[in-house]
């Protein structure tokens, strides 16, 4: 029976392979074939997705370790979920030693590609897209590994997610490189993750370009992220996230945003034209979350943030939100602009020996004279001040992330 199924599947695959690559309308007959292949997969299998546009009405899922899913290219092998009636993702993978490459996942009702609780994950040249452009009704995440270890995300394209295009959550040892994220609320988001290198990416036309966040109520607080050599420009798309979600508080025009995370190094990037600010460093207190709803052990203060040698300019001209607009006008006049770096000024008053850390352990900036404004969030913006002089310091640089095991380079 198994043989017969495999033979039938092979036949169908062969048939599919003969299609013209530009075939529309979508082919629905392929759903059963691919679902069966995913159910029957054995470690070591390579599941090839032929060229064509294939329609699915339910989620796909994979639970077997050691499987590769490979298409013919992100513009050739297209899994379309436009007609999806059930399932919170396009493809959900709960497995290790997983590789997915060279295909597209379009128009899912929820997340496009979610990978949970696996190790040694490669996501390469995958496109996730909501083809109607940025809309609140789009799914939340494009590419979404969560609670994973040893992960490489490279050369992917993520477009129009209503939360984050490329989002890595609660994970360890991650490289995110040479991807392109556009027209998402958050382009690339690193959340509650330990040891991430984010480089060579392009983030543009998102609401916020690259985010490094810690959220409360989760088991693992994140730390040690390096954001370098990225192009983060013109992330000025109006925030179309759902109210209540963490990213809904991101002001349109945010380049790189650090929130409540520790040991974040931002260097050698080109960050320009983000109309609120090119870099924002903030506490969860600036993002409107309930303090009652925060687990007691949560550390809401960003610390050990080191910003240096970025090319920045053209930001801060039209900040999003009344508070920041008022701040800009009060400090820099109606024709002025906020400086490249905004800090909300929240510090832990009781961090060490009953006192706060010195500012030089919280935020250091050595960036060709880039200016910082501390907007005095704790006192409701009462005494904002230019503060570059207080942060002229260096921090120990973080070690590069080394991918291990089958991902070692």
């Amino acid at each position: 029976m198994r043989l017969a199924i495999i033979a039938a599947a092979a036949l169908m695959l062969a048939a599919c392979g003969e299609q013209k690559t530009t075939s529309t309308p979508a082919d629905t007959s392929y759903q059963e074939t691919l679902m069966t292949q995913l159910l029957d997969a054995q470690p070591g299998d390579i599941i090839e997705i032929p060229a064509g546009t294939f329609s699915f009405d339910r989620s796909l899922s994979l639970t077997v370790d050691g499987v590769t899913i490979r298409g013919q290219g992100m513009d050739k092998s297209i899994l379309s979920f436009k007609d999806q009636i059930a399932g919170a993702e396009g493809l959900i993978v709960t497995a290790s030693d997983f590789t997915i490459e060279d295909l597209a996942i379009e128009d899912t009702k929820g997340d496009a590609l979610k990978i949970t609780k696996g190790e040694n994950i490669i996501i390469r040249r995958v496109r996730t897209e909501w083809t109607g452009g940025p809309k609140t009704s789009n799914g939340a995440y494009g590419i979404y590994p969560v609670q994973t270890k040893n992960v490489l995300m490279e050369e992917n394209v993520a477009i129009a997610a209503a939360d984050a295009g490329l989002y890595i959550g609660q994970s360890q040892n991650v490289v995110v490189r040479n991807n392109r994220a556009e027209y998402n609320v958050a382009g690339i988001e690193i959340e509650n993750t330990l040891d991430a290198d984010v480089y060579g990416n392009v983030a543009t036309n998102n609401t916020g370009g690259i985010l490094v966040f810690n959220m409360p109520n989760l088991k693992q607080p994140g730390a040690r992220t390096r954001v370098y050599d990225n192009d983060v420009f013109d992330n000025n798309t109006k925030n179309f996230g759902h109210k209540g979600t963490p990213v809904a508080s991101i002001p349109a025009g945010s380049g790189v945003v650090v929130n409540s995370n520790d040991q974040v190094e931002i260097f050698g990037n080109r960050i320009t034209g983000n109309k609120t600010a090119n870099i924002i460093v903030a506490s969860v207190y600036s993002s409107g979350l309930s303090q009652d709803g925060m687990s007691e052990d949560f550390d809401p203060y960003p610390e050990g943030i080191y910003i240096y040698d970025n090319e920045m300019g053209g930001g801060g001209k039209n900040p999003d939100g009344l508070d920041l607009q008022a701040l800009k006008i009060a400090m820099f006049g109606p024709m002025g602009a906020l400086p490249d770096i905004l800090w909300d000024g929240y510090v832990n008053p009781d961090k060490r020996d009953g006192a706060a850390l010195p500012l030089t352990e919280i935020l250091c900036v050595q960036n060709n004279g880039a200016e910082i404004v501390n907007f005095d969030g704790p006192n409701g913006f009462k005494n904002p001040r230019l503060a570059a002089g207080e942060h002229d310091c260096a921090l120990e640089k973080l070690a590069p992330v080394t991918l291990t095991g089958p991902l070692a380079e």
Partner: protein, 369 residues
Amino acid sequence: MRKLAALLVLLLAACGSQETPPTFHSDSNPQQLSDWGMVTARDGALQLGEGVTPYDLATPLFTDYALKLRTVWIPQGAATYTANDAFDFPVGTVLTKTFFYPIKGDAWTGAVTYGVEHTVEGGAMSLSGYRLMETRILVRRADGWNALPYVWNDDQTDAVLKRTGAVIPLTLHRPDGRAESFAYVVPNANQCAACHATNANTKEIAPIGPKARHLNKPSTFSPAFNQLDYWIAAGLLTGNVSDGAAVQKSADWTDKSLPLAARARTYLDINCSHCHNPGGAADTSGLDLEPDAAGPALGRCKSPIAAGSGSGGRPFDIVPGHPEQSITVFRMETTDPGAMMPELGRSTTHDEGVALIAEWIARMEGVCG
């Protein structure tokens, strides 16, 4: 070779038989449900095999108003009692859950309606006025539990293994006269595991219903007994259970003589905690809906982590006193696949379940600061 042929003949004969005895298939997955011999449609009734015991739960999982008949069969030995988790069943155990609907109208047109679970008499449950949808098998093999979905055929004579699941268009007629078409979705084998792998780290799948607290109720099928006591008396359960009534007890969510909080927490337990537990698939959200969770973990004033459209534009999972501002209620009401909870097994809104949770939240005191 001749032996093999003889064996094949025997097997074939078994397949053709109307009365396969209850059978443990230790590694193969029969194509027909009848080959398991657990529940068989015959003479206008669903017949239970010899030694196949029906059971029910204090509060069941909601599945688009489908009625369910659950059975347990243990060929050798007995399940071992555990206080909180599903009982530890021996290899060979077969659990079944059959989903069926009261038919609206005289003939089958895909129209279904509400009903109440009816009982098993003389080892059979009458099917008059009912439509069988699917039977899910959970079989405990040497390598662990396996989940297999079988979909009943049009003639309602047998069900066929459908590992990729199915979508069946139906129309639900509610008691107030509203009619709505919906897609009844039979899960694929991986989706079975999505709920039944209650520990998402080990990924081992396990039963969800047969836990002490859910079974601890007057037996529907042997009315003189508490159901746990009946399992012990019938030799299905061993271990340190001196008195079934002394263990934890899930509420019947419909029993208004019970405290509101107990009914609401049981409803959330059976519908949500297989994912929303500290080791479950939904621990990524930080929301824990097991019976002993409290505070932000239970959702009180808790901001969502990765809800996307599931937030419904609302600030916290639970806003005390305000169900209309609580994400939990939104996610139970919506039928948008990208926002709804549970993610699987529901295409309609459980109005009565939503009302229960809404009332529970409405009566909570305090504010989110």
